[in-house]
Subunit: 382 residues, 2 copies
């Protein structure tokens, strides 16, 4: 009997109604438990980022030994990345928001990989000019979230290749075509760039250890869909003398049109809020967004709405209601019928526009140091 | 019925008694005709290199339009390479000897690729330290053959990757796993470095065109076993706006033990004369080399010997008898029985030792400029 509601989650495809618990079991990852959240809160000086407290990050690999090490005086570094296929949208911020917070709270280094090569290989419709252009644009947006210029390092693949390649050569010998076919579902028609790519995506996880000649632990916050990339990384780590990177996995942020993820691979630009959307577009998209509201105002006042299926609530939850008090009130008022969708959207739009104004200023500043953060030299020749 | 005397010729394997005419037909290449040799002689000012006049280079692709272009004022450049798995042996000089001669006669640029990444991927027994070490050692030996420091450029893969990668990204999107599987016979267990590698081997053929923003023709002298690599290069050239590289193909130089090629992939170090063999080793190897001689001296004086099967004659033919007069006399005296194998070997050893003395001096000089020939910067960011 076919699965009545199948879902697909791979680095190159997310579809269907995702059963996150089942996905965690399928992937063999661990749950982020309340006890683990308490440890994180303590390490961070008593606070917890909403992405953690609200269960967006819900799964991990080896977070416990990583935190044990940190508590014992062995700092880790953060690694996240972006495939620059176009402008960033709000759900792309999920991993970088957590990284920025962890960097600020724990004072640790951040490595950002911009994969302008991989996106060129993965999307036949994109030109190199486009992936390089979006690579820089995306980088400015990421750094503007508040990363520390002194502790933030960027691998911009096409420009950082000299820094990455000596280690990539060693990584690539340990991964077979059969490995990548199994993990990514590649076909014989897949180009050889994409086949090779996972070697380059692995390198940043080992790079600080390679540079410093000692075991430097790594934490990778990523969407659960990106886990397969790093399973390969973890598989080869010990054989190369590097620690296995730990991971924390987030749920996918639902799209504005109610889809499982804020993907824009198709033509659905209305499914996502881009950072470079003109203000009127933002208004229009939020006004048209799929909600958990009722068919009529009267019905909604009487029965309340359903935040769990609402794309607007997902935006509050992931980014635009930083205080638990505010988020709790929005959720309760939605459920009770006290908050109508139109008013909720107006309030959200105010927050979004305020963020965009601040972000534009921070972005100008980030542009002044972005180039200097790009790593171009290898620490060793071999 | 099985082929009674099968042979295999791929970039990763050469075995059996090679039927070179049939190989040319199988590969679909053209014959280097006497008329074409005449054209080359004229362009080179009346001389022909022994590797051409003696039929070692016997096959080509698109040499005619290349020479037409040269005669019409469109110079080409030369491209050859070396996978640094160990010391060079004399048959590795076949492509570089021709390149050096063409550079001197035609005043054209030479690009040399040292594939220290590829050899690490292709040979699980080699360390990166080894392929990097042999890369430099091989490079000194190659440059010492007499290349012009002003017109000779080196891509040392691990160190030139920044110069190669922007173009490699574009190349790799045009080659599928299916393509490389068909050409190289890769298995699912092949590592992803080797799968990717042909993209990097293609880049030098297009690099001057990319750099100069115009079509710069390319000639690649190589062993016929390397032709498959460049078939992929030729297949994608026009789609990328670059000229298809022309090729001239050499026969394999038989090994000292009488094998089809001077390969040392197995344990047969005695099959090849390495440039770094101690002089006594050279003596020993040549004294033990397989010849076309007879069972007894008496028989040989009476019936003569068979140069075509002799590994010593192959060394005279390819490198150590530059004048046609000398080579003709050796061949005739061998065939008539006037020249006995022991005397022939003594005469050859004198030539080899003289070459090695000169080469050692030239090598010291090459070491002074080798580093400056290594290209490390891309001409354009994209």
């Amino acid at each position: 009997m076919p699965d009545p509601d199948p879902f697909v989650v791979t680095p190159y495809e997310v579809k269907g109604r995702i059963d996150y618990d089942r996905l965690r079991e399928l992937f063999g990852t661990q749950e982020i438990t309340p006890a683990l959240l308490d440890r994180l809160r303590t390490l961070a000086g008593g606070e917890l980022h909403p992405l953690l407290s609200r269960g967006i990050y819900y799964s991990h690999r080896d977070l416990v030994p990583l935190l044990d090490g940190f508590a014992a005086g062995r700092p880790f570094f953060l690694y996240s990345g972006r495939g620059p296929s176009g402008p960033l949208h709000t759900s792309h911020l999920v991993s970088f928001d957590l990284c920025r917070w962890l960097q600020a709270k724990l004072g640790i280094p951040m490595y950002i990989q911009i994969t302008d090569d991989e996106k060129f290989w993965a999307r036949s419709g994109l030109s190199r000019e486009e992936t390089a252009h979006w690579g820089l644009e995306n980088l400015y947006d990421i750094l503007a979230l508040g990363f520390d210029p002194k502790k933030t390092h960027v691998f911009f693949d096409s420009r950082s290749i000299a820094a990455l390649y000596p280690l990539a050569i060693r990584v690539a010998r340990r991964i077979t075509y059969s490995n990548v076919k199994a993990v990514f579902g590649f076909e014989p028609s897949t180009n050889i760039g994409l086949v090779f790519y996972t070697a380059l995506q692995t390198v940043p996880a080992f790079w600080p250890s390679w540079k410093e000649g000692r075991q430097v632990p790594c934490l990778i916050p990523c969407g659960i869909d990106q886990d397969p990339h790093f399973r390969l990384t973890r598989d080869i780590a010990e054989g190369m003398g590097y620690p296995k990177p730990a991971l924390v996995h987030s749920r996918m942020v639902p799209g504005l049109l109610g889809e499982a993820a804020m993907s824009t691979t198709g033509s659905a630009a209305d499914n996502a809020l881009f950072l470079n959307d003109p203000p009127k577009e933002v208004d229009r998209k939020v006004r048209n967004a799929f909600t958990g509201g009722r068919a009529t105002l009267e019905e909604q006042r009487r029965l309340g709405a359903t935040p769990e299926v609402c794309s607007v609530w997902a935006l509050w939850r992931t980014r635009f209601a930083p205080s638990e008090e505010e988020f709790g009130k929005i959720t309760a008022d939605c459920r009770s019928g006290a908050l109508l969708c139109g008013d909720c959207k107006s309030a959200l739009l105010e927050k979004i526009h305020a963020f965009r104004r601040e972000h534009a200023i921070a972005r100008e500043k980030a542009m002044t140091w972005a180039e200097s953060a790009i790593v171009t030299e290898p620490p060793h020749p071999l």
